[in-house]
Amino acid sequence: MTRRYSRRAVLMQIGAGSAAAATLTSPKHAFAQMDSRPWFFLTDDEARWLAAICDVFIPQDDFPSASQAGVVDYIDLQMASGYGKGEGLYLKGPFPEGTPEQGYQLPYTPSELLRRGIAAARDEDDLGAMPPPDRSAYVEALSERTEPIGDVPASAFFNELLSLTNEGYFADPIYLGNHNYAGWEMVGFPGAHAYYLDRVDKHNLPVDQPPMGIAHNGGRSTLPRPIRSEG
């Protein structure tokens, strides 16, 4: 897959009819300034930490790693929008501790949980400085950890990280992950335009059509934001 478009490149095409040469320096399109905007929710440090963790969950092989597929962008958008802000979450107190069978009982929205967890984890260890095998061991230890990370139960934090990563790799690219249909190509899922009446009983016939998402654009949401190196 070589045809990758950044948002800046697309905007340049949009503006090409008027003053293409000028777009780079003084973009006409209102959204163009977003190209250099900060994350919607994350800090650069948080984004770096998430990229390191996500790429342990989904490392690169024949198919992209989580961060290469835009999973950090996905998490950023989720944390900044309804889900991250606690939509669909009953947050009336009191908040006594419960059993695992009683489910989530913390007073935090997902974005609060993530921010607190990452801050506490970064206080303890410098994940970015670890070589990849050590990162894997770190994630393994995190998954089994019983003592809390700061004031966040380790299991709640870990489960949130793992499910967000998985969602970002496989959700429709309109949510900024699954870039170029990385996840859908990997398993062979044809996407949202689904009509199989004539094929369901033709057994063992692989489907070789390329995936197509809701936006119908080849999965080219935006180029995953570069994770800037420290300093």
Binding site: I58, Y90, A192, Y196, H203, N204
Partner: protein, 594 residues
């Protein structure tokens, strides 16, 4: 006291889902002016559920776009009375809907009838195995209405949905290709069964070799162009793989909007109010009848809608909640075992078996439908000899292909890591080489599984939350283990299978958890029967204590069947409406002596 009182109507109906819209249809045509109070918003199958936008797994399957908002209404949960119940802070184990059509728009479309013996469960087991057979700690009871009485109504609902299937027992004659255990039906399914993909086909072949009786799952995913008795037009299913948790923009999954609402919405006796949150039912001074329903309208104003007849058609749990906060009936007390409202809450007992195929098989799991399955009913209900087994009840075993949505559908064999390079490699291989078997088991009622009001937490309207106390009864753990092992036998017999794994949510030592999705089949709490000390409503769905209150839905089930509830509960709804029209409305009063 309500701030605003409206003119009286004949019937006020709480909830605009399958039963509420059907009640309005039938009663409006009987000359009754009906007002439905729907807490959610209007939406339509044509404009709200169209692909590709509807085919958004994140929005609808994971973020519950069509479900009720727990910020407004939720419940508290505990496994047993010695624990403190805590709020269900997000949805998980079950997914009640909100908005026009209710949960009826996001069902799978598995449309079943109860077995005749299911409806007379205690008498049937007593007669076949002796009166000591049903374990002492179960409060299993007869429904008070028989299969023969419900049959015309079960049949009619199948025609409302354009159900697809193969009759196994037509007027008492056993027919090949159907379920030989079903009660006698007076007519065949209105549409032919669904096409089957390779996974389900291999399951059916293996089951047959083992001497069982596989048949295509009865389906409200329609297989041909069809007009229902109300005049609704349905289209053939596309096997798109977006049924459960989604609405069907193809008009191919029967739902209450296209099948009922569209056919009644312009009737002069019909009115529906959206954003109308029922808060409580008001009673007359002598307490013997209800006088109407108080609701909060979209502007936050409390409104009193007086009515001659009150129909409770909310989701099972919220019907019980509304009774408890309104003081309708006698709340159940597990200490004294007196009272009936909240008594006999039960659920569904779910286990699963995964079969993994060799590389000659390509399942294409995304070619699916909610009720696309092959089923074995040999271990459901009392279709098998229980005398040496030490439990009652059973479940169906189905191989289903209902979706391949890639966030949720990630089948990997036991022992696969949960992340990392190896997980990624295995998932690539197994995504399209997986057979999905479910054991859909019954759930018996006990004195300790019940619903009441929580002493601590409140909903957005200031009412105490419903409190659920539930764990799997020992009986159901044994049942689930036994039937799951039969499913494992079938999976191992299937051609091309290289490995199998299983999970039993009701295994010994595992407490029921409100977290992982199991089924939206919460039943009981306002059960039907012939004895006012053990039922909230009489056999016609009429409250013993308040003769002008009629109750609909799965809250009526005295214990849960091994089948999905929509078919049985709609059979009961038509049965109740039939008796309202024929007997009650002419001469309002108790239809049975207490």
């Amino acid at each position: 006291m309500a701030m605003r009182e409206l003119p009286k109507t004949d019937v006020v109906i709480v909830g605009g889902g399958w039963t509420g819209l059907t009640a309005a249809y039938e009663l409006a045509h009987a000359g009754q002016r009906c007002v439905i109070l729907e807490r959610g918003q209007p939406r339509h199958t044509a404009t709200s559920f169209a692909g590709p936008e509807e085919h958004d797994e994140l929005k609808y399957a994971l973020r519950y776009g069509h479900m009720q908002d727990v910020k407004k209404e939720t419940l508290t949960f505990r496994n047993s009375r010695d624990q403190q119940a805590l709020p269900m802070r997000r949805l998980g184990s079950f997914l009640p809907g909100s908005g026009l059509g209710g949960a009826g728009i996001h069902w799978n479309g598995q449309i079943w009838r109860p077995l005749p013996s299911d409806l007379e469960m205690r008498s049937h087991y007593d007669a076949r195995y002796g009166s000591q057979f049903i374990p002492e700690d179960l409060t299993v009871q007869d429904w008070g209405v028989t299969y023969d009485e419900l049959e015309p109504h079960l049949d009619f609902f199948e025609r409302i949905c354009g159900a697809a299937g193969s009759a196994g027992n037509l007027n008492g004659e056993t027919r090949p290709g159907g379920n030989p255990f079903e009660g006698a039906r007076t007519s065949d399914y209105p549409n032919p069964p669904m096409k089957q993909p390779i996974s389900n086909t291999l399951f059916g072949q293996a089951a047959e070799r083992l001497g069982y009786n596989p048949f295509p799952m009865p389906s409200a995913n329609v297989t041909a162009a069809y007009e229902n008795p109300y005049g609704a037009q349905l289209h053939p299913c596309t096997y798109c793989g977006y049924c459960e948790r989604f609405g069907c923009g193809y008009f191919a999954k029967a739902d209450p909007i296209i099948c009922v609402y569209d056919r009644i919405k312009d009737h002069e006796n019909f009115e529906i109010r959206f954003g109308a949150q029922a808060l409580r039912v008001e009673k007359s001074r002598d307490g013997k009848t209800a006088t109407g329903v108080v609701y909060q309208d979209e502007d936050g104003v409390e409104v009193f809608q007086p009515a001659d007849t009150v129909c409770l058609n909310a989701y099972a749990l919220w019907n019980v909640h509304l009774m408890l906060v309104s003081g309708l009936g006698q709340p159940y007390d597990p200490e004294t075992r007196q009272g009936t409202v909240g008594r006999n809450y039960s659920y569904q007992t779910i286990a699963a078996v995964d079969a993994f195929f060799d590389d000659e098989i390509v399942t294409n799991p995304f070619m699916g439908a909610g009720a696309l399955g092959m089923v074995v009913d040999d271990f459901n209900g009392d279709n098998f000899d229980h005398s040496e087994l030490g439990f009652v009840g059973g479940g169906y075993i189905a191989c289903k292909q209902y979706h391949g949505r890639p966030i949720s559908y990630q089948p990997v064999p036991d022992g696969t890591p949960k992340w990392g390079a190896e997980w990624k490699r295995v998932l690539r291989e197994t995504y399209s080489r997986h057979g999905d078997l479910v054991i859909h088991g019954s759930s018996m009622s006990t004195p300790e599984n019940y619903l009441d009001l929580d002493p601590t937490w409140t909903d957005a309207f200031g009412r105490p939350l419903l409190r659920m106390t539930f764990n799997f009864p020992e009986n159901d753990r044994k049942m689930s283990d036994y039937v799951m092992n039969r499913a494992l036998d079938i999976a191992r017999e299937m051609d091309h299978v290289t490995s199998v794994s299983s999970v039993n949510l009701a295994r010994e030592g595992a407490d029921y958890s409100i977290v992982p999705y199991q089924t939206t089949h919460n039943v009981g709490g306002a059960v039907i029967g012939t004895d006012p000390t053990t039922s909230v409503v009489n056999r016609y769905g009429q409250m013993w204590d308040h003769h002008n209150v009629f109750v609909f839905g799965a809250c009526l089930f005295p214990q849960n069947l091994g089948y999905n509830p929509t078919g049985p509960l709609m059979g009961l709804a038509y049965w109740t409406l039939d008796h309202m029209k024929r007997d009650y409305l002419k001469n309002p009063g108790p239809l049975m002596d207490a």
